[in-house]
């Protein structure tokens, strides 16, 4: 590890807001797009099963 302690890691040599900001935004977008895609999928499935239920009754 290139840090002596967690406090040193959290400080990031004085660049903490920039480094953690960049990583945070990247992880948010990366996870966000996966979650959004999954939600779109399940929404479509729900709509389809409703359509099926409507035609059967």
């Amino acid at each position: 590890m290139s840090f002596e302690s967690w406090a040193e890691f959290a400080a990031m040599g004085g660049y903490a807001p920039y480094v953690f900001g960049a990583y945070g935004i990247t992880i948010a977008v990366g996870l966000g797009l996966v979650i959004h895609s999954l939600m779109q999928q399940s929404r479509w499935r729900q709509k389809q099963s409703q359509l099926h239920a409507d035609t059967e009754t």
Partner: protein
């Protein structure tokens, strides 16, 4: 042989049936590579002798910037196939690549700004590299907007496909902008022909991040493309049947 392959994978039904198996593979690959790469880059890679720890932004910025450009190239390739061979699936591939590419380009710009502030003293300069990357974002947004405004069907996607192909001219401009014009931006981190300027302890985690980011892109692209296919083919028998199987 190649033509048969092309025909099979160009069929929405065949593509949907076969591509489903790739999802868990890309999901596992993405999870492994990105978690290794993030921890390695953030905790274990040595500090830079000039930039200190701020250079760790590279591990998210460079993969985003590389993917921004190659996802545009992939989207434009799909556009070419859609224009020449009128494949429905190519049009859907172009349409679903556009929003992902736009997000990745935005990410490259934002992480670059967060790196620029401590190193150059400014979030933004209107130089060739940054401006041409901003144009890339507008191109993605333009292709997406035109595609969504033109309605369903492969032929409706042709205006957006033409824009995507014309926009390819921007890629070499981004690539060579750091050589052609004076810029604050540093030259490429990776090159196929030359050895990296960094020691292996620094570029190995970067390579893991780049491959992981590509895998993430294919995962999200595939998920969206598969949904777009069943949306467009919703009335087809095979969609109804595969849907009932899943219930």
């Amino acid at each position: 042989m190649v033509w048969r392959w092309f025909h099979e994978w160009g069929s929405p039904r065949f593509f949907y049936a076969r591509s489903g198996r790739l999802i868990p593979i890309f999901a596992a690959l993405t999870l492994c590579l990105l978690s290794i790469g993030l921890v390695w880059g953030l905790l274990y890679a040595p500090a830079d002798y000039q930039q200190g720890h701020s250079y760790r932004i590279m591990y998210v910025h460079v993969p985003a910037a590389i993917l921004a450009q190659s996802s545009y190239a992939m989207m434009a390739m799909a556009a070419v196939v859609s224009l020449i061979w009128r494949l429905k699936i190519a049009d859907a591939a172009m349409q679903t690549a556009a929003p992902i590419g736009a997000w990745v380009t935005a990410l490259a710009l934002v992480t670059g700004a967060l790196w620029g502030k401590p190193m150059w003293g400014t979030y933004w300069v209107w130089d060739a590299r940054l401006t041409s990357t901003l144009i890339l974002l507008f191109l993605f947004a333009g292709v997406l907007a035109i595609r969504q405004a033109s309605g369903p069907g492969q032929s409706a996607g042709r205006a957006a496909a033409v824009l995507a192909v014309v926009g390819l001219i921007n890629l070499p401009i981004i690539k060579f902008s750091v050589d052609w014009w004076f810029t604050l931006h540093q030259p490429s981190s990776f090159s196929i022909t030359e050895k990296p300027a960094m020691p292996i302890e620094m570029w190995a985690p970067l390579l893991v991040m780049v491959i992981g980011t590509y895998s993430w892109f294919f995962l999200v692209w595939l998920m969206r493309l598969r949904l777009e296919i069943v949306r467009r083919e919703a009335k087809a028998d095979w969609v109804q049947r595969s849907f009932q199987d899943e219930l």
